[in-house]
Symmetry: C2
Subunit: 460 residues, 2 copies
């Protein structure tokens, strides 16, 4: 800890008292995400309970030029919470108030530390839901900051479409509100969208007003296997072109199905498989299922199964739900190195096949699952981070995947974010726009204290 | 014309030749929008045909510090294209190429001067549409820049949700691409959304990649009258809460219905009236119509009419389509002074009623129509701009409407934008966030040449 940080931490401890921790276990916990990224602990962790306390912490860090790293639940994937140059981690879990749920307006205002499951629990009985589901029970502030999405995005959009307004503590400690509760607005620059996905580099999100959606009147699930990835993808393309509003559609490759079969003792056909969920009124869902079955059959689908009762739907989707643990089971002790490219859907089959060939050629294990309606897919390399040769091979495949995606108009990350793991790829993707991002960042954080090294990297 | 402008204009004329105009009629045409705002002509109008020409024009203006005012079709409402301090209007109508339509990916890349109707004409036969409909046949570049929407927004979103990526000439003449063709991305700051709604103050949009949507399999229209505005609004709230995905829903007040009855010789009941459009599959639409009819009946609706055939739908919606001309007919020779607040839908009835009372108390004429699913409504004052007393009364009512909207979490503009007409209201609405907007603008345009005086006003 350098002198400035020491002074800052002592100043903070003076009023935060036991809500400012410098113990090793707390620091290490706050320097670790869910992937292979090495632990980079902050110098101290602050646990504010109010927005005013966050303002005071940031102001103190600004005064001493100490890095500030916002922390939600630590479930991000690209080293977002790593304290690359030390500093103070601001744990937002104490900002846990649900300020308002407005059923008539179908919106809610919650503090940043509220998790999506907590919010949905509070919505019980209103007939409404907050559908964005990145898998982990992430905090709303964290989901805002990584522009999270998940399996529901094809129907409900991502955090980009579902955040109406944010309360943000700026790098100088000032508090702003980025928007209103109006469903649409043409009032000035879209600051809300600027902070959504900014990964805490422009300020700390302390509360969000989000859209809510009606719980679907009726839900059905379906799955079917295909002779090739291309047939599965073409089924989805035709389905979307027909205007069928799928609730979710997930694609698992044969390697992934094999992994799940082993782990969950299922007997699914080892082939590229689509998992659908349909949301709507009963006649609408019946119409959708019939259309999708017809389209899938025209692409040679087999093993078409569908389910309506919740327990049957869960069983049908079990393979999809179990992939994380199934992958762990493929290679006990291995860490997951996730990829996250997103491409125009017409390019998806080519992209996945090229990646699969590259994986095989380099003797790696990397099952694939994709949010195919959005063109977003994840190969998850199961690696030993200490095996330098293997990590080199994995990173080679990983880099080529991204370059291929960029070449066809895709992005290096569909939903995980840049963190410090993908700064160089963002540079390639954005081109001259990268300097625009740097200029905007400098305009809001001239001292460079907010989550340094993430998104646009360190200033040169 | 000052000396710097003269030098700049001569330099531009050197290579643009007859595509640089300084004639009075061309300049006045480019300084006028569709509303009461006074004409503020630029010093010259440039007609570039390529993106490179736009870059060269902007670079010349930057060198001489001459204002640049991007121009689409001149159909905006808040003086966006007024040359408040002279300068060069850049008419984008020559950027008229449709670069690509990609049916499988349901997206298209078009240059800024392509209008929405031209794009839709090119989509003929693909089964796809670009649904955003602000009324006028605006250019895509203009629609991007005002964050336009219209009657379809409740179903398809606004330009915010439908622009995937932009090509932009920055204030220094450099060209950037703000995003990719991926349906979602977490790659860095959302520059696309920053330029959507920036009204040409951060750069000139030269091309846009937009989302396309399937043409609905089936469309039905309906209308019904209510005993009060509140019953109409409550019908819409319940409809949305039930998850009925309305294609459009418009609310006209009794004054507006009366105006249309007179103009179009209709015999509609003079009462608050909802106009619905339903998009979907045939069983889905039938289910939706039945649900809405039941909800509307429970709120005392009468005169429920519905139509399926295109000509019957057009007749049913005629009242809605004719309001512009009907309003002109209410007071021949008058100019329209439109308002555009947008509020949480639960506040809509109170807000409209308060505005109606204020209109009546001040002896003004201002029919109301609203995109009620979004909480956006327009009172259109029919005024004589030369009548100082009347303009004063209209602006008083107008100002109180905005202040009431802001007080309940609404916005001063749902879809028209700030231009120079609403800078002071943006200041009130944004609070401390207004300075953030100024800082962002200064970061990208330190010389202050891009559409000066709009959005955040002139630098102090």
């Amino acid at each position: 800890m350098n002198t400035a940080t020491q002074t800052c931490v002592e100043e903070l401890r003076g009023w935060l008292q036991d809500r400012l921790s410098t113990t090793t276990s707390v620091r290490e916990h706050h320097g670790r995400d869910t992937t292979f990224h090495p632990v980079m602990p902050p110098d101290a962790v602050a646990f504010p309970h109010t927005v005013e306390e966050v303002q005071r912490i940031v102001a103190a860090c600004a005064k001493h030029r100490v890095p500030v790293i916002p922390y939600g639940t630590g479930t991000s994937c690209e080293g977002h919470i790593a304290a690359l140059r030390g500093g103070v981690s601001v744990d937002t879990s104490g900002l846990n108030r649900i300020r308002a749920i407005r059923a008539a307006d179908m919106d809610a205002t919650v503090e940043a530390g509220v998790t999506r499951k907590t919010l949905n629990a509070h919505l019980h009985g209103t007939g409404l839901q907050f559908p964005i589901d990145p898998g982990a029970d992430a905090s709303i502030g964290g989901m805002v900051s990584t522009r999270a999405s998940g399996t529901n995005a094809v129907r409900y959009g991502t955090m980009r479409e579902n955040v109406m307004s944010l309360e943000v503590v700026l790098p100088n400690g000032e508090l702003i509100q980025t928007g209103t509760r109006a469903r649409k607005s043409s009032a000035g620059y879209d600051l809300t969208r600027l902070f959504v996905g900014a990964e805490g580099t422009l300020g700390i999100v302390t509360a969000a007003t989000v859209r809510l959606h009606p719980l679907p009147e009726y839900v059905a699930a379906a799955s079917c296997a295909f002779g090739s990835l291309r047939e599965a993808v073409n089924t989805v393309i035709e389905t979307l072109q027909c205007g069928v509003q799928i609730g979710r559609v997930e694609l698992l490759d044969a390697v992934q199905i094999d992994a799940v079969n082993r782990y969950s003792r299922l007997g699914m056909q080892v082939a590229p498989t689509l998992f659908f969920e349909f949301h709507g009124s009963e006649p609408e869902v019946a119409h959708q299922v019939a259309m999708v079955q017809e389209i899938a059959a025209s692409h040679g689908a087999s093993d078409f199964a569908w389910a309506e009762r919740p327990e049957d739907r869960t069983r049908l989707w079990q393979a999809r739900h179990d992939i994380w643990w199934a992958n762990k089971g493929l290679r006990p002790g291995a860490e997951g190195l996730p990829t996250d490219v997103c491409v125009p859907i017409s390019e998806l089959a080519d992209q996945v096949e090229a990646a699969q060939q590259d994986v095989a050629a380099h003797n790696l294990i990397a099952p694939m699952c994709g949010h195919v309606g959005d063109g977003n897919f994840h190969l998850c390399f199961m690696v030993n981070p200490l095996d330098v040769d293997e990590m080199g091979r994995a990173k080679g495949v990983y880099t080529r995947m991204i370059r291929r995606a960029l070449a066809v108009g895709g992005t290096c990350t569909g939903e995980h974010g840049i963190g410090h793991g993908k700064v160089e790829f963002l540079k390639e993707e954005a081109g001259a726009a990268f300097q625009v991002m740097q200029a905007l960042r400098y305009a809001l954080d001239p001292l460079g204290i907010m989550n340094p090294g993430k998104v646009t990297g360190f200033p040169v």
